[in-house]
């Protein structure tokens, strides 16, 4: 290496001067590849602070709740016993984009992390359609500050226990507190504050109106058929509770809303794990290698970098003791690399499978993929036979009617489509989580609420449904019934809360 800058930074310890230098050269390369990002705010933290960041599940500012304390104790235990290492970085979808770097990292690691988080993840947050339509990076920090203050005000006014109970119940239903299809309104702190009082008054009036008259019970049957409420089944249970639960105080409604907003904020991240990590990994790999080609980093740097990179994308085979499912970093990284390969150097097979992208401009194709897909659709669009062979993917079918597991498809000509389909479904959140919707509320009778679980593949609900119904009961205040509708359309009641005194 004759380049001065490469020799200048031989020492592997990082300093702020070096960080700024690397940030500037990484930024240059990223720009040349057309990556657009939010401004970066890079914070150096110690390992203890990293554990704090861990336990608040990626929120830079969180309201207080015991479950975060539990998470912290678990993380601390595991870390101290050496059962897990801490992540090198945590990055937050906000504007400016906040990344936490650990002080223990070497200079090479810091450079990798800057390329990975501050340019990879950051550009994904800024460009992917899920993030741009469902989250508002500009206002999330303000909203979290508002939420923290609101929760602690409530704790002062109504007591820690009352707030904790409500939050417990909301957390339990958190996954069912997102709009899957409807685009949510943007949140902004200013509006939030302005409209809060207004909303309180209005909502209470709405709720009162809804429950105002209780007609005589003999008309109940006809009434409920004519005026079904809600008219359509509701998938966003927390939203429905916030707007319609009869007995909630207005501060409780606001708590429900906070949990719902947080859930909605994280929803895109849960849907783009493979893409997000793959995109960031692809870019740290590409950027650092470009730096090496330009002679800006030396051999020892690139060797250390490759060592870390290889660890990150390692995929243990199915029969390894370390196997715990498909590594999203591996899959995502391999897929983006594969798309690049198809664009630059397509085989005949690729030309058949991907006629539209084979031979096209790889950078353009990659940016298109980053913008317009989520894990599920990304895999079903771009998983190539070449990659299926390379990862030696195979699909298993486990049916509890049989006492064996069947190998449904392997990496051969007949299996490609099946595997692609199955892997895509594996990242489809609506298959992974039970599909439970609010079916009916008996507004003219006993005010009971009925939820319906739409089953598929004969998979039933886990054993803690009674606990769950108790949480729902706490929020709703009246009887909660859970039904199940099988694929054949057969409806049966699973359980209810409070339990019926005695079955006849």
């Amino acid at each position: 290496m004759t380049n001065q800058s490469a020799t200048k930074f031989k020492d592997c310890e990082w300093t702020f001067e070096k960080l700024e230098y690397f940030d500037s050269i990484i930024s240059e390369v990223a720009c040349s590849f057309g990556l657009t990002t939010y401004p970066n705010q890079i914070e150096i933290i110690s390992s203890e602070q990293m554990m704090d960041a861990y336990s608040s599940v990626g929120m830079p500012i969180g309201y207080n709740h015991w479950s975060y304390g539990k998470k912290f104790i678990q993380t601390q235990q595991n870390y101290h016993r050496g059962q897990m290492g801490l992540a090198y970085e945590i990055v937050i979808n906000s504007n400016p984009c906040i990344s936490y770097l650990m002080e223990e990292n070497s200079m090479t690691m810091q450079a990798l992390v800057i390329a990975h988080a501050c340019y990879g993840h950051n550009s994904f947050f800024k460009n992917n359609y899920l993030f741009t339509t469902w989250t508002d990076a500009d206002s999330i920090i303000d909203y979290l500050v508002f939420a923290k203050k609101f929760v602690s005000d409530c704790e002062e006014k109504y007591g820690v226990d009352a707030v904790e109970n409500t939050l417990d119940s909301c957390h339990a239903l958190m996954n069912l507190g997102v709009d899957r299809y409807k685009r949510p309104a943007k949140i902004s702190l200013h509006e939030e504050k302005n409209r809060q009082d207004e909303r309180e008054a209005f909502l209470q009036a709405q709720v009162n109106d809804l429950w105002r008259t209780v007609p005589k019970s003999k008309h109940v049957e006809e009434c409920s058929n004519k005026h079904r409420f809600p008219q359509q089944p509701q998938e966003n249970i927390l939203y429905f509770i916030e707007k319609n639960a009869p007995l909630l105080k207005s501060w409780q409604r606001e708590l429900v809303r906070i949990v719902r907003k947080v859930a909605q904020y994280f929803y895109p991240q849960r849907q783009t794990q493979v893409m997000n990590e793959g995109w960031a990994t692809f870019w740290h790999y590409t950027i650092i290698n470009t730096l090496f080609d330009e002679g800006k980093v030396d051999n020892s740097f690139i060797l250390e970098f490759l060592h870390h990179h290889t660890n990150v994308v390692y995929q243990p085979p199915y029969n390894s003791p370390y196997y715990s499912g498909i590594n999203p970093y591996t899959l995502g990284f391999a897929m983006f690399q594969d798309i690049k390969r198809i664009c630059e150097d397509p085989t005949d097979e690729d030309k058949v499978w991907f006629p539209d992208i084979a031979g096209s401009d790889w950078l353009h194709t990659l940016h298109f993929a980053c913008k317009n897909f989520k894990d599920e659709s990304f895999i079903s669009q771009y998983l190539s036979p070449h990659l299926i062979r390379e990862l030696k993917l195979f699909n298993t079918v486990d049916d509890d009617k049989n006492n064996f597991i069947e190998i449904d498809a392997i990496h051969n000509e007949q299996g490609y489509l099946k595997i692609r389909e199955a892997l895509s479904q594996q990242y489809n959140l609506s298959y992974l989580e039970p599909n439970i919707q609010i079916h009916r509320v008996d507004i003219t009778g006993d005010r009971s609420i009925t939820l319906r679980h739409y089953g598929h593949h004969n998979i039933s609900l886990g054993e803690n449904i009674d606990e769950m119904l108790k949480h729902l009961y706490r929020l709703w205040g009246f009887e909660v019934i859970l039904e199940s509708e099988s694929e054949g359309g057969k409806v049966s009641e699973i359980t209810r809360c409070p339990k019926a005194p005695s079955p006849e």
Binding site: F16, Y318, G325, I459
Partner: protein, 420 residues
């Protein structure tokens, strides 16, 4: 352009509130765990934290999730042997790896307890929650006879070695300015006149003479103002403030006659451990005096106290007298908070019991903060219990309790020291 921020010096305990919330929420389970732990902890081990185990079901956060039934598909990497249509046996632990969420495997069954460590302070807090030292408040300052000297402003009288030089000189300067100000003005005026005269030619010897005399007078007047005067002096003032004593002494009195077996001693030992922990949490220094007795009392070290066996009769008053003697000689109540804990199986020589009552009422109780007596026996009470019972009705700082087995210790300890 990126912006770098060094957050390493920020407080790292961002999670401590949440951690505290967690501990509060699971206080019941944690306490149960502590109750269990205290019974097999050794006497010397008072400084470490504690591992707490909570059944996992108590802290689950439920969500709706799929059960492990029905038909599910899953894609795996690294195929090395399978062909399409192969049928393989279902692996034993497949339960945790169903098509549920991606990280199902590390949350699988089998891990049914959640263990974590709490710090020594948290341990003691939980252990002694709701407990308070008896009698502490009432006597807090009333009979404190130890004083500490502290700075208490300034005074005009005092010992020469307490002179505050800066303040004294300040006063001196201001006094001199005040006293000489007008004279100095006069002096300047006269000097100006004199200078004017010297400028002008002509016969003015007389006038000059008188002016010079006046100037001389002024100078003398200024010089007569002393450089430092008695009322310039400022002294540092010190006051004596009473300090509550932060030292405690704990007398452990135990019967080691033949009737006390090792089991009974062990129970007593645990009671002493608790008392020691409890006192050392409140006082800066806690000393322990071990007195064992059969027919005669003797001060011994810890090991001998708990583990040497003697035979013979029992005369309790001998130990009480020895305690009184030691307390008078080495632990004056002006400096020490005296606590006593007596353990016995209830045996005493009958004629001795009235003597005990006398010693306790006249010599010990006026000097002790708290005197607790625990009787460790499974049989019925003897004369000493009845005698002590009478005392305890008269004096609130005297308490007696009956312990039957190990498990009783902690509840009884709590009962003794619980805030009403």
């Amino acid at each position: 352009m990126s912006h770098f921020i060094d957050r390493r010096l920020n407080a790292k305990n961002k999670s401590s509130v949440n951690r505290q919330r967690f501990l509060n929420r699971h206080k019941e389970q944690i306490k149960r765990s502590i109750d269990h732990v205290i019974t097999d902890r050794s006497v010397t081990d008072v400084s470490s934290g504690e591992n707490i185990t909570i059944p996992k079901r108590d802290l689950s956060e439920p969500i709706f999730h799929h059960a492990n039934d029905g038909q599910r598909q899953r894609v795996h990497p690294g195929n090395d042997q399978f062909q399409q249509g192969d049928k393989i046996e279902r692996p034993k632990q497949s339960g945790g790896q169903g098509a549920g969420d991606g990280n199902a495997s590390d949350q699988g069954e089998g891990e049914d307890e959640f263990t974590f460590e709490i710090s020594h302070d948290e341990y003691l807090d939980l252990l002694f929650e709701d407990l308070a030292l008896p009698n502490l408040e009432a006597k807090q300052n009333a009979d404190a006879q130890e004083f500490k000297t502290t700075r208490h402003g300034f005074s005009e009288v005092g010992l020469p070695n307490n002179i505050n030089i800066v303040r004294s000189l300040k006063k001196s300067i201001s006094r001199r300015i005040a006293l000489t100000g007008s004279t100095k003005r006069e002096l300047t005026a006269l000097e100006e006149q004199l200078a004017a005269l010297e400028q002008s030619s002509g016969e003015n010897y007389q006038a000059r003479k008188s002016l010079e005399a006046q100037i001389q007078q002024c100078k003398e007047r200024i010089n007569r103002v002393p450089f430092i005067d008695d009322f310039d002096l400022q002294f540092n003032h010190y006051a004596r403030t009473p300090v509550p004593s932060s030292k405690a002494v704990m007398f452990c009195i135990m019967d080691v006659s033949g009737s006390m077996d090792q089991e009974t001693k062990d129970i007593a030992k645990r009671f002493y451990i608790l008392l020691y922990l409890f006192l050392s949490r409140t006082y800066q220094t806690t000393e322990v005096v071990y007195i064992r007795h059969h027919t005669q009392a003797k001060e011994v070290d810890e090991h001998e106290f708990f583990y040497s066996q003697e035979t013979g009769g029992t005369v309790v008053s001998s130990a009480l007298r020895l305690m009184h003697k030691i307390q008078q000689q080495r632990y004056p109540t002006s400096q020490w908070n005296v606590y006593a804990a007596q353990a016995s199986d209830g045996d005493n020589w009958n004629d001795d019991t009235p003597l005990c009552k006398e010693v306790i009422e006249q010599d010990l109780l006026p000097n002790t903060r708290y005197f607790s007596y625990i009787e460790i026996t499974k049989s019925s009470h003897q004369s000493m219990w009845h005698c002590y019972q009478k005392i305890s009705e008269l004096y609130p700082e005297f308490a007696i309790k009956h312990i039957k087995e190990r498990a009783d210790i902690y509840p009884i300890f709590r009962e003794l020291f619980a805030t009403s």
